[in-house]
């Protein structure tokens, strides 16, 4: 992450904004920043824990050119991580030693408050409700809605376009064809969200939401 500009620091806002438009709360707890990549216009809210220090300890010099900085968490564009959520790369015991695997999160993903996420991969346009726990090595595909208070068991694969909920998570439905489509363009004003007061729709383009956070 690049350093915030001097003007922004002087303003002492809630968020530090990087050159690429990432907004990181001053109250977030981020460890191992060198191992974390944010795609741009991504919001990390207050009290979010990003465990970037938990990176792969295996020598990975052979397959990647850049040595020394293994990626542990990579987050795409316009993704929002809400307050008090914890992102911890998944871990597996291998030959008696714990080995961490890099976690990948796509674009326009909304992660609700108080979530604990250890998924290996979350694709784009995923909406995760509040208080969701995703166990290690789960794979969340595109256009998935995870209802609040869900526990996704480890290594579960959530197929594209499904709605999951429950403990353990099971598929409870399908998102409609209009998932993520904000009708007629986000019209501005009070909000065209899913009947709510948001300017954005679940699973849709979160740029408006990111812009509104300051």
């Amino acid at each position: 992450m690049s350093r915030p500009s001097a003007k922004k620091v002087a303003a002492k806002g809630e968020y530090i904004e990087t050159d690429s438009g990432n907004k990181v709360s001053r109250r977030s707890a981020i460890t191992g920043t060198a191992n974390i990549t944010l795609g741009g216009r991504t919001v990390i809210m207050a009290d979010v824990v990003l465990r970037g220090d938990l990176h792969s300890t295996r020598p990975t010099a052979s397959n990647s050119g850049k040595e020394g900085t293994p990626t542990s968490i990579s987050i795409g564009k316009c993704t929002v991580v809400s307050t008090s959520s914890v992102l911890k790369p998944p871990c597996r015991m291998s030959r008696g030693a714990p080995n961490f695997y890099p976690m990948k999160i796509g674009d326009n993903v909304f992660i609700g408050p108080n979530c604990v996420i250890s998924a290996i991969a979350i694709s784009s346009h995923v909406h995760i409700g509040a208080n969701v726990t995703i166990h290690a090595f789960a794979v969340i595909k595109e256009n998935v809605k995870i209802l609040s208070n869900t526990v996704v068991p480890s290594a579960m694969v959530v197929a594209p376009g499904s709605v999951v909920g429950g403990r353990p998570a099971r598929i409870v439905g399908e998102v409609g064809e209009g998932w993520g489509v904000s009708g007629g363009g986000a019209g501005g004003g009070l909000g065209v969200g899913g009947g709510g007061e948001e300017k954005w729709v679940e699973g849709g383009d979160l740029r408006e939401l990111v812009r509104s956070i300051r």
Partner: protein, 568 residues
């Protein structure tokens, strides 16, 4: 799916069209006229089946009507396993059923997915392998199953019974059946000419009651033989019917079901015999096993039994105890295209590739009817999402009897400006009567033009929230609250009713579940002029077919869930 407040549901009127029969009586006509007059009741039992969130609705451009999941036809494009995301050819689905045939299994206890683990202590993946649930820690060891290979679990499991017993294949079953039949023939002969050497080695095998699969294969073999004896003249049916395939079953079922209608054409087949012994697939009720089951529950308690949901998920319906369960192969999913039920036009068609989430055709209601949303009108300006933890308005605790103002927001996806007329019953239906007043029921919503038009004209726009600067007390009847490029919002005054009957009447009546949810039915009627003949998608203005304008009108009911009224 329960949605958080506030929400908007759209009513599809397709169920009304179903009961228009050709022979109408006067009373029915009267009733229908009444239905026209009647306002939509979100609490009627039928409303559940016609209300959908806007995202789930499609739009048929030929019929110019909204299409809900009940008035479309689905066509399966392909089958895939939701766990391994491999496509399963439809031929395999027909022959092997709708379950994954690879290594995808779900836990028979908690429905979580099972993972293959090696029991090898050295850390290498070497046999034996087991299936384990990472959620509830159930493993296949509990039913005594270990695998020799880590791949192709389904094929291995098909041969392995609980406790590591061997499950015979179909061929082995056939052989066994033949052998037993001979034994039985011999026995019956022995009965006729009694001799003492009837007890032989087969008796201990016969002690074990035939398993569910055994009985099934016995029954299929029996019916096959019966069909063969029935239709000896037809050279095809006796040979090519493969009784393990569902299609053949459906053919047989057709044979049975159509006998009634085709009775005149073909001679009535002589009645088939039913299965008469367990060799022919007959299950005889065994009171001893019941007694044993009761004894076992007495001894070990309810813990060893299955819950109804767990039992229901099992393939064998007679499973009772936790040591009889089997891991469940993952059910397959489908990708489906959807057609309009009345004109058969394709409404959505996803790309056939499993991993692709794109659509070739997608006609959404979102792009054709205005989106309606409601939110509380607060003294504070619209809050950014960052402060959502400090909720400014609690939709779950509306105060009864105190007027509250809400903003109804309409955004227009069409490329023509629309005239909107809103209507709502003055008191909400249901036991809790809330008073609702839309302060400006008639207004215009601008066209969904290029977003830059809005940006350029915004400085010149004369209507810029005149009322907000002077405070929220300035809500005027007959005036819109605010408007933008393709949206308009109007104020709504709502007086939530009393949940307990002390306010309205004295009669004691218990509120049922969700009776205290404030849902307002709103009738939306839009009128607009569009280029006739042009595509409804608004491509008309680019084609430049000027001149003839077409008036269009659309009307539908929506239900706006405002919140939950707090009990006094």
């Amino acid at each position: 799916m329960a949605q958080p407040f506030p929400y908007t549901y759209y009513a599809c009127d397709c169920y009304d069209g179903n009961n228009t029969s050709s022979t109408k009586r006067a009373s029915q006509l009267l009733q229908e006229a009444e239905e026209e007059e009647r306002t939509f009741d979100p609490r009627s039992p039928r409303a559940n089946y016609s209300l959908y969130p806007l995202e789930h609705l499609l739009y048929c451009e030929d019929c110019q009507q909204v299409r809900c999941p009940r008035c479309i036809i689905e066509e399966t494009l392909n089958w895939y396993c939701p766990s391994c995301l491999f496509e399963v050819p439809s031929s395999v689905v027909k022959s092997d059923g709708n379950r994954c045939t690879r290594s995808c299994f779900s836990c028979p206890l908690c429905t979580s997915n099972l993972q293959t683990y090696s029991l090898d202590q050295t850390g290498e993946s070497a046999p034996p392998f087991i299936l384990e649930c990472q959620y509830c820690r159930w493993s296949s060891l509990e039913i005594g199953i270990e695998f020799e290979k880590g791949q192709g679990i389904a094929a291995q499991l098909a041969r392995l019974g609980n406790g590591g017993k061997h499950i015979p294949t179909n061929k082995e079953r056939d052989k066994e059946r033949e052998r037993r039949r001979e034994v039985e023939m011999r026995k019956s002969r022995d009965l006729l000419s009694p001799s003492t050497e009837s007890t032989n080695t087969d008796t201990e095998r016969d002690d074990r009651p035939p398993s569910h699969d055994d009985l099934f294969s016995n029954l299929t073999a029996f019916y096959k033989s019966q069909v063969d004896t029935q239709t000896p003249s037809n050279p095809f049916s006796s040979h090519d019917i493969n009784f393990s395939s569902p299609s053949a079953y459906s053919r047989i079922m057709n044979l049975y079901s159509t006998t009634g209608s085709k009775k005149n054409k073909r001679s009535k087949p002589s009645a088939m015999r039913e299965a008469a012994s367990s060799l022919e697939g007959l299950t005889i009720h065994d009171p001893i096993s019941d007694a044993a089951a009761i004894e076992r529950i007495k001894r070990e308690g309810w813990g060893v039994t299955l819950s109804p949901a767990q039992k229901h998920a099992q393939i064998n319906p007679n499973v009772r105890f936790t040591d009889e369960i089997r891991p469940l192969a993952t059910l397959l999913c489908t990708k489906r295209s959807k057609r309009c039920r009345s004109c058969r036009q394709i409404l959505t068609k996803p790309e056939s590739k499993i991993t692709s989430t794109r659509y070739k055709i997608k006609l959404l209601a979102l792009n054709h009817i205005p989106r309606l949303s409601i939110r509380a009108l607060n003294a504070s300006p619209p809050t950014p999402v960052a402060s959502r933890t400090a909720e400014t308005f609690d939709y779950n605790a509306l105060k009864p009897g105190i007027p509250a103002h809400f903003l109804l927001h309409l955004s227009n996806p069409l490329f023509d400006s629309i005239k909107v007329t809103l209507a709502t019953p003055s008191t909400t239906p249901g036991k809790v009567h809330s008073r609702v007043t839309i302060l400006c029921p008639q207004f215009d919503v601008g066209a969904n033009t290029d977003i830059w038009d809005d940006a350029l004209s915004s400085s010149l726009s004369p209507i810029k929230r005149g009322s907000v600067s002077e405070g929220p007390a300035q809500i005027e009847a007959g005036k819109i609250w605010d408007r933008g490029r393709n949206w308009t919002s109007v104020a709504v005054e709502i007086v939530p009713g009393f949940t307990n009957s002390q306010g309205s009447g004295s009669e004691e009546q218990e509120l049922e579940e969700d009776e205290d949810v404030l849902e307002i039915p709103i009738f939306v009627r839009i009128e607009y002029e569009t280029d006739a003949g042009a595509d409804d998608r608004g491509l008309g203005d680019s084609r430049g077919s000027k001149g003839e304008k077409e008036r269009r009108e659309e009307a539908f009911w929506t239900v706006v869930g405002v919140g939950r009224i707090k009990g006094a």
